[in-house]
């Protein structure tokens, strides 16, 4: 596990600093106010005049002390702060998208399995596959076009197309968790909360639409396999209604693999929301990472990839434990 983290950091580090780029690598650690002497001191302090592999050691030392440098393209704040201030928004988006994926994807998969090879199955599969085949940015813009622009011009109530909260309401609620919806609820400010929800609908739906097909597919395959099992025949021979057979007997067995997948998905959504955040101007970390790439901010990218990898690893563990709850045969 730690090996993976190391490996990632090594790879990004090498990519970032091992090749000539438009930006001097030490711009990371200097603020605008420093003069030439201070800059030289920084260069030596962080080992920029040493060979590459030694630089890595210096970098490691810096990071362990909490110094990720400064992101001059983002108001010159320390990189760590820039990341931390935006991270909760990405978390909110991811949670909203995951909820949508589960709420839409699982029933879709179950429907497909129950009505196997009938029309509803084909339609459900088509919907799922279409979602899976849609370019994220395209879908995002279409949603914006329809729900924001056309609704607006047609005088219908419209959904906002950018940001996490309306500018007029921003900052009116103390930021305890950093997630606008939660903060709004905690502060008891319904106006704020509803506004935050309205803002998150379109991006979350975009993000979830492309993934729920995959979940539906796994649920379907799992359900189909379960429905062929002997204990389902047994349950039916008891005279139980089909609804009970499916809900009580089949689901518990079928949802195991689906759960595993959702956990991993949620974790990867955290990373992959780059395009969605970009299109919706969502103030999250993915959007920033795009700019970081263009600005050559390797520290930011390192932070981003390491955090994402860490979350995926944690998600794996959580999912394994959750699996033990569903299936009593698995022991820890």
């Amino acid at each position: 596990m730690t090996f993976v983290l190391f490996g990632i950091s090594l790879m990004v580090f090498y990519l970032a600093r091992g090749f000539p780029s438009a930006f001097a690598p030490w711009t990371q650690y200097i603020t605008r106010k420093m003069n030439a002497q201070q800059i030289q001191a920084i260069i030596e302090q962080h080992g920029f005049n040493k060979p590459l592999w030694e630089q890595y050691v210096y970098w490691l030392r810096d990071v362990l002390q909490g110094n990720w440098g400064y992101s001059n393209w983002a108001n010159g704040l320390p990189t760590y702060e820039v990341f931390a201030s935006r991270f909760p928004y990405t978390v909110e988006l991811t949670i909203a998208a995951t909820i949508l994926i589960i709420v839409i994807g699982i029933p879709l998969g179950i429907l497909s399995a129950i009505k196997n090879n009938k029309i509803s199955d084909h339609i459900a599969r088509l919907v799922a596959l279409t979602g899976y085949s849609t370019p994220t940015y395209w879908f995002a813009y279409i949603l914006q076009l329809v729900f924001f622009y056309y609704f607006y011009t047609l005088g219908l109530p419209y959904l906002p197309s950018s940001g996490a909260i309306s500018p007029t309401l921003a900052g009116t609620v103390p930021a305890i968790t950093g997630l606008p919806i939660i903060d709004g609820i905690l502060a008891g400010n319904m106006n704020y909360t509803l506004d935050a929800v309205a803002h998150v609908i379109l991006p979350a739906f975009t993000l979830s639409f492309t993934s729920l097909g995959y979940l539906a597919r796994i649920v379907r395959a799992s359900m189909l396999e379960v429905l062929q099992q002997d204990y389902i025949t047994m349950a039916r021979s008891k005279g139980l209604s089909e609804r009970i057979v499916i809900c009580r007997h089949a689901l518990k067995n079928a949802l195991g693999p689906a759960m595993t997948l959702t956990g991993l998905f949620a974790a990867s959504l955290l990373g992959g929301a780059v395009v969605t955040e970009y299109v919706f101007s969502w103030p999250g970390v993915g959007d920033l990472s795009l700019q970081a790439v263009f600005q050559g901010d390797s520290n930011f990218l390192l932070l981003y990839t390491l955090v994402t990898a860490l979350i995926i690893i944690i998600a794996n563990l959580v999912v394994d434990i959750g699996y033990a709850f569903l299936d009593p045969r698995v022991k820890y």
């Binding site: 002997d230 204990y231 021979s237 008891k238 005279g239 139980l240 067995n253 569903l326 045969r329």
Partner: protein, 342 residues
């Protein structure tokens, strides 16, 4: 069962699994359905329950239970039948029990599936099983029904000779041994108080000592429950021990039906005779093991006429051309064979 035919659609063709089967079970009797693997015994059970897989179809015939044809019933009516008239015990208790639900859940639902339910716990389990239909069908509160079901379940587990039933209730199927699981399955079947109990090869997956225990359990329960039993097995010796009448089946046809004593005293059909010869005699340990030559026919393209004709030592020309019809040989001994033309 009258003139029942069942076909299966498969990729390679149509499998004529059951062909014009006639079978009758009388109340309170144990009828054994004996035949080798693949001859269609389990298909018979599934057809009675209307639980055939999607590619199976009944092409003709009827199944009468107390006068009404089961094949003509709607899905919901059939569900009612399964919940209170017919109960099945299946072959492999490991795969037929849901691995993620406790025994308690699976047993209680067998009780709760019926709407007529005793109001209180003022009956012993034997009395409960004996009364097929409860007269008190008032609306009982759901929580109370679950409690009653819980208590009845524990009693029922005691009845099927499981020690420490409270503990078993909380366990999952994989935590029990094979014999214990099979007893739970029996309990689940009994809980529905059926008029017909179908036992589909219930001992096949168990080792011999457990087999004996389970069979003796069934026999002892015969008096407690008020039902007929269709015992499906490939083992003639089990049939001999437990059944009142035996029906011999081959390749989707019934070939002979008689009371147990009569069948063993006077087996008529060539197949039955060969089967009896195959049972090794414990008194002659050094004798050669007999077998029936030839192979079970391919049911996609079965032989015309009598399906046993390719392997029959007494085959005649008419056997290959036409199907033999039922002949009553007296003393309620039925045979499908041209040898006995009366």
């Amino acid at each position: 069962m009258k003139n029942l035919s069942v076909n299966f659609q498969t990729y390679r063709g149509e499998v004529k699994a059951l062909q014009n089967m006639d079978l009758e079970i009388f109340s309170h009797e144990v009828l054994a359905l004996v035949g080798e693997s693949g001859c269609g015994k389990s298909v018979t059970a599934l057809t009675i329950l209307s639980l055939l897989p999607p590619n199976g179809h009944v092409t003709e015939g009827e199944i009468l239970l107390n006068g009404t044809d089961l094949l003509k019933k709607t899905h919901d009516e059939m569900r009612y039948v399964r919940s209170s008239e017919i109960a099945t015990i299946f072959q492999d208790p490991m795969t037929y029990l849901n691995p993620v639900l406790t025994i308690a859940t699976q047993l209680k639902e067998s009780f709760l599936v019926r709407t007529d339910f005793p109001l209180s716990l003022n009956q012993t389990i034997e009395e409960f099983l004996a009364t097929k239909r409860s007269s008190e069908t008032a609306k009982v509160h759901r929580r109370k029904r679950e409690d009653i079901a819980e208590q009845l379940s524990v009693d029922l587990l005691k009845l099927v000779r499981l020690s420490d039933p409270e503990r078993v209730m909380k366990q999952y199927p994989f935590e029990l041994s094979g014999g214990m699981r099979q007893r739970c399955m029996i309990a689940m079947a009994l809980a529905r108080r059926p008029s017909l109990l179908i036992a589909d090869e219930i001992t096949t997956a168990l080792d011999v000592t457990i087999q004996a225990q389970v069979l003796s359990l069934l026999m002892s329960l015969r008096d407690t429950i008020d039902a007929s039993t269709l015992l499906i097995t490939h083992d003639l010796s089990i049939a001999a021990e437990t059944a009142d009448r035996i029906a011999v089946m081959y390749a989707g046809n019934i070939v002979e039906v008689a009371s147990t004593k009569e069948l063993f005293r006077n087996p008529l059909h060539p197949y039955t005779r060969l089967l009896m010869k195959c049972i090794p005699d414990v008194r002659k340990p050094k004798a050669r093991l007999e077998s029936i030559q030839g192979n079970v026919p391919d049911l996609i393209d079965p032989p015309n006429g009598c399906r046993f004709s390719p392997r029959c030592p007494k085959v005649m020309n008419e056997c290959r051309a036409e199907k033999p019809t039922l002949k009553n040989y007296g003393k309620d001994h039925l045979v499908h064979c041209f040898l006995y033309k009366r």
